[in-house]
Symmetry: C2
Subunit: 203 residues, 2 copies
């Protein structure tokens, strides 16, 4: 009944996805050979084509899953009734930045995949519609009736995620600024809620 199985006792299909996810994230789409995935999974090359129609399809399936959890995870946080806007923003920043610190390549990986195939965003639209009626929107409107919540959400995401996208640059520059990337992001966990609060109050 349970699809979850212990370590080595995975379906062939799951083994492929596991291996593919690993190799894709390390080498990108074009850098990955289906032969690499087969080897990583300890399986025959042809099985990849048997279970998934093509390298592209396999990639898209993995993307859709990653993307889904990537955006969906924070929707419950925003939907909560009994926390203040400040608390919600703080929760989102903290959870996201910590999640991304553990998977720093995820944003670029996901974003470029989506760019090549926007339909991956299909699931996300539902999430966006949920947010429209979230208590948070009402709470924000109460603080500032002019608040434009589409900018609010976009800015919150931007401030959390964008640094990971330009991380290669930050690492290069981090010598002059004498701070490593992780430290910078830890600071932002504290700073983002404050910035967001200012934004809401304004105008």
């Amino acid at each position: 009944m349970a699809k979850k199985q212990s370590q080595k006792d995975l379906t062939t299909e799951e083994k492929i996805k596991e291996a593919a996810s690993k190799v894709f994230q390390k080498k990108g789409f074009s850098g990955t050979r289906t032969r690499d995935i087969a080897e990583e999974a300890g399986l025959n090359l042809a099985l990849i084509n048997y279970y998934f129609r093509s390298k592209q399809k396999l990639f898209e399936i993995i993307m859709a899953e990653k993307l889904s959890s990537f955006f969906m995870d924070f929707i419950p946080l925003l939907l909560s009734e009994d926390s203040s806007p400040e608390e919600k923003v703080r929760l989102v920043s903290e959870n996201y930045i910590n999640l991304l610190l553990e998977n720093p390549d995820l944003p670029v990986f996901v974003m470029s995949a989506v760019h090549n195939n926007p339909k991956h965003f299909a699931n996300i639209v539902k999430g966006a519609e949920l947010i429209q009626d979230a208590p948070l929107v009402a709470q924000l409107k109460k603080i500032n009736p002019n608040m434009k919540f589409e900018h609010f959400f976009m800015n919150l995401m931007a401030l959390c995620i964008f640094p990971f996208i330009i991380r290669p640059a930050i690492s290069l520059i981090s010598k002059p600024i004498r701070k490593n990337f992780e430290t910078l992001m830890q600071e932002r966990i504290e700073l983002i809620p404050m910035w967001m609060q200012q934004m809401v109050k304004q105008k």
Copy 2:
């Protein structure tokens, strides 16, 4: 003497770069076949290999150029002595957003290229070092001695660029929010300077 030539009177090398830039932006690196580029340029396939060593090299050269102008263009704006921080931020937002509205795929294109090959950022480091000593930093410190300028620059970039990265999602969602992407970005040209000003004042 002038390397710039009119329309159809381009060097073979320039024709290839022109065509490649177009096709790469449309189809991404792996989606582009060297044969597509040759066809787009109206040239023989082998010329790509003759002028540039490989598809990869050609891609990197185009990337380096795009990236360079992408980040370098706004450094002079920040270096100016005789404008206020507010004016500088306003100029950067306006110029960038308008530039990107004309090349909306550029950010994802550049970002994923850089992600695959961080050395493309080499030129940018120089720019970052220039910024360290920019009058703007002094101006900001005067307003708020605690201002962390690395966050300031990162936030300014994030607020301008990030929306373009998630543009496919915004387009899907734009039905519920009844605004198209361009309108949203025009609003941001006005809003970003205000948000940034709040950030500087705070703490």
